[in-house]
Symmetry: C2
Subunit: 517 residues, 2 copies
């Protein structure tokens, strides 16, 4: 997978490393990882399937494995943009190489290590990562490992297919290892907009971005060459984000969302011309919504999100979407080929930003984002659990959902009404873990329907959520719960029977189903 050059001075062929200062640092991945020491905090590139270092992290996993084989311990703290390539995450998890992981993961081996207590995991809002690391909440960042598409003559870095926190990693790390990946098409240069105006308080200024397509930065990343200890060359594809066609359930959810948009337009609460910028999470439901929009009346839409998936390329090509802003291109193999073959076209319709901008509270609020995120479950009062299966086991993490839900214009959470063949209801009396509170959840959608919670008191919300969103198999149980909870003279603003509020989850833990026998 890697092609390293032993004699950097000898390169006669064209190279992505156009600065001799950096050419002189070219080495092998194996040599580069010698700069990483046990207990180091290592910050790497990567957001979703795009931009993870392809050669260096596997070499690091090998090194950790070897050191452990020799009887020594070797763990690092690992900071990323969000999830990274699953293969890479797995390699490090398999060798038990991570003691602390931040801010997001979505890989089964890592998940197992976290849930069994072998790996510490800090699950924070993606918009918080850069500022918290910069502020020193995670101590010193010893090494940054960042994939780039090239190095310019003047020593600036052309980003690859994701930006994530790369700007921050380069700024704060003591030592930097660059992985120059010649697979990334050179024509991708210019799709990026790296904003260098952020600061820690009290030095912050307004971010002068007022529409999705605004460019407020520069196309390259800056780096202090004195901090760069190694440069590794690779020519390796991003791992692909597989794309499955939307199933019936996803299409039903999407249909409710699209109806709702038309209703809001009719009510004068959404602009008929272009709605407002859309944010949607990753996955089947999000893809179904995008596909539905493609068949709908709206053209020239905008998206302001974290990740661009294949569906977005399609929408851009059809003119349904005029402009998409994100921090990562997480595409299938076919999507990667489509992008690369038509990069000059897509560069006019896509911008990739650092995640501190793609998820920034100030921008999310200003642009008036319509936030559509998946969830594990919601309760009858509108509290949402996005992260913890049965309240204890982490699935992935909150990611950017809170960034968009909390400060957006409309905050919607979407899920099939059941999971595990009906054994789990995604509408429950009380969620055993809350990632988005009743104050931040405005609309819930399942294939059953859409619950518009705006302006409703909790006692009104519960009826609407059960009626519109719960699966029929669970509706009577939920209504019975609410009726009995409300029957007490002083049932309270948000009636609950504490002894039963988590009974759906307890029953699932005991019997494998939330349904009674």
């Amino acid at each position: 997978m890697t092609s390293h050059v032993d004699e950097p001075g000898s390169l006669a062929t064209p190279t992505r490393i156009r600065s001799s200062v950096f050419r002189n640092k070219v080495t092998s991945a194996q040599a580069a990882v010698e700069f990483i020491h046990p207990h180091d905090t290592v910050a790497i590139s990567g957001f979703a399937s795009a931009g993870t270092p392809k050669a260096i992290i596997p070499a690091l996993a090998d090194r950790i494995h070897a050191v452990r084989g020799a009887g020594s311990n070797f763990t690092i703290n690992l900071l990323t943009g969000a999830s990274v390539s699953a293969g890479t995450e797995r390699l490090l998890a398999e060798v038990d190489g991570i003691s602390l992981r931040m801010p997001y993961q979505s890989e089964p081996t890592a998940r197992r290590n976290i849930n069994s207590g072998r790996m510490d995991y800090v699950d924070i809002h993606l918009s918080h990562v850069a500022q918290q690391v910069w502020e020193g909440y995670y101590g010193n960042v010893d090494v940054a490992v960042v994939e780039v598409a090239g190095i310019t003559e003047s020593g600036e870095l052309v980003p690859s297919a994701s930006i994530g926190n790369n700007k921050t990693w380069l700024d704060v790390a003591d030592k930097i290892i660059l992985e120059v990946n010649s697979w990334v098409p050179e024509a991708m240069a210019g799709i990026h907009d790296i904003y260098y105006g952020t600061a820690l308080p009290p030095y912050r200024k307004p971010i002068q971005l007022t529409s999705v397509e605004d460019r407020i930065g520069q196309p390259t990343l800056k780096v202090d060459p004195n901090k760069v200890v190694a440069v590794v060359e690779t020519d390796a594809r991003d791992s692909a984000s597989p794309l499955t066609p939307p199933d019936e359930i996803s299409q039903a959810i999407a249909a409710h969302v699209l109806d709702f948009f038309e209703h809001e337009v009719a009510q004068g609460r959404l602009p008929a011309d272009g709605l407002l910028p859309l944010q949607s999470g990753i996955g089947n439901v999000a893809n179904a919504v995008l596909q539905g929009l493609d068949a709908g009346p709206h053209k020239g839409l905008t998206c302001f999100s974290e990740v661009i998936q294949d569906g977005m390329l399609h929408l851009i090509k059809h003119g349904t979407v005029r402009y998409a802003s994100a921090t990562s291109l997480a595409l299938s193999e076919a999507g990667i080929d489509e992008l690369v073959s038509n990069i000059d076209f897509y560069r006019k319709h896509i911008v990739l930003r650092p995640q501190e901008i793609s998820n920034h509270p100030e921008i999310v609020r200003r642009l008036g984002i319509i936030a559509m995120n998946g969830m594990l479950e919601a309760d009858i009062y509108g509290n949402v659990n996005s992260t913890h299966v049965m309240g204890t086991k982490i699935m992935n993490g909150i990611g950017g959902s809170g960034d968009f839900a909390r400060n957006g214009y409309l905050s919607m959470f979407l899920s099939p009404s059941t999971a595990k063949g009906g054994a789990i209801s995604s509408i429950v009396p009380m969620v055993p873990h809350v990632d988005h509170t009743e104050h931040d959840v405005q609309v819930l959608v399942t294939e059953q329907g859409l619950a518009d919670l705006r302006g409703l008191s909790p006692r009104k919300r519960s009826r609407v959520v059960i009626d519109k969103c719960a699966h029929p198999d669970y509706r009577a149980m939920l209504l019975d719960y609410v009726d009995r909870a409300e029957a007490y003279p002083s049932a309270g603003h948000t009636p609950h029977l504490l002894g039963e509020s988590l009974s759906f989850h307890q029953r699932f833990n005991e019997t494998g189903s939330m349904l009674p026998n």
Copy 2:
């Protein structure tokens, strides 16, 4: 309390109503409330104890009482800034005059009506109110009732001691009733900064406010005179926010906070020169923190908060605080006198803003607010319940705490470790209602100590919270819970025993104490 003028044209004495257009609309409170009809949505001024209409709302309560006495129904939907004067809130609640209340209350009769299901209550972030009403989430606003200190020759309004949502109420209401209160010192004119740059998306622009003392608006409120249906004159004091001296518990909490500030300065995470702008909730603990700061090494501090209480005046006078921004002056009788007697001094150190600016996510993030808010309880993983006693009964509401906690630089929650003489622990295994999630809570403080949760996984957090914050009477119970929850091989990222997670609250409901017999 009111002094109304039957023949408005006859006024020879100086008046606060300098525009004849408005003078011609002067009438009695009793006549004014004839413009309010059953089922109207009525938006009134008032934020904490300051700025509630003094004559019109009591007259409205009288009218509702009379209509009900005659056998008809009469309820309104009531929108405010936050809480309003308790006497006023009570009058409307006693006559069952409110069918829907938004966004915050803190009065016992209203609370009782909400908890018994007689009154609908929508408990939302204070920063969301203006935009949600403007967007139409609460339907049409039929009448705005706004207290002002005067009306200028050109027909603009001099605000009184709070601003809250008054700008929005005047903008969106069909009909406007003004209450001109000559008790508000005329010299208060100029303390206000009304920003007219907000918009609904897609027309939002950056708010060019970069420090606490920046003025970005104008000193008066605009109003369309054609919408003004009545003007009522009064001369009535604001109700006073009583101030009790901090007790030992509050002082101990404050001492931990102040130690923490010094620690953060020493670590380079807070500027030694002036820290960062402070936000603190209302109440004894907040006052104790402010008093503690007065005795500390810092001078020239800034505050960016909702409410200015007596303690703040003291700090300003001593130079401890250089500048304070808020939306309301909620003072004791002595505080009101102090302010009024020295208004020319305080006007140079205080600005009152609309609450959409005082609590704006963009500004809170940019300024890097240190958010210090009270809580009812926190769980061992850092989730905070600010609103629901035993998970069901509303206390007050979330108010602005989420605005500051979610987007601030440091998010701290403060509470005594026990309530009700030790029968309630404010540290519990799982909170039965979440207002601030684990992702948004960085520091917990009780009189026992301070738990710094930054960068800690849930399993590490639980130990720190119990060790630092729990009352000794509850520590062993909490540790036992965690030990047993973690003992399962697949206990999960956030270990819980679902059957026991709410047992503290169930025990309290059954026995009157969270402690076992």
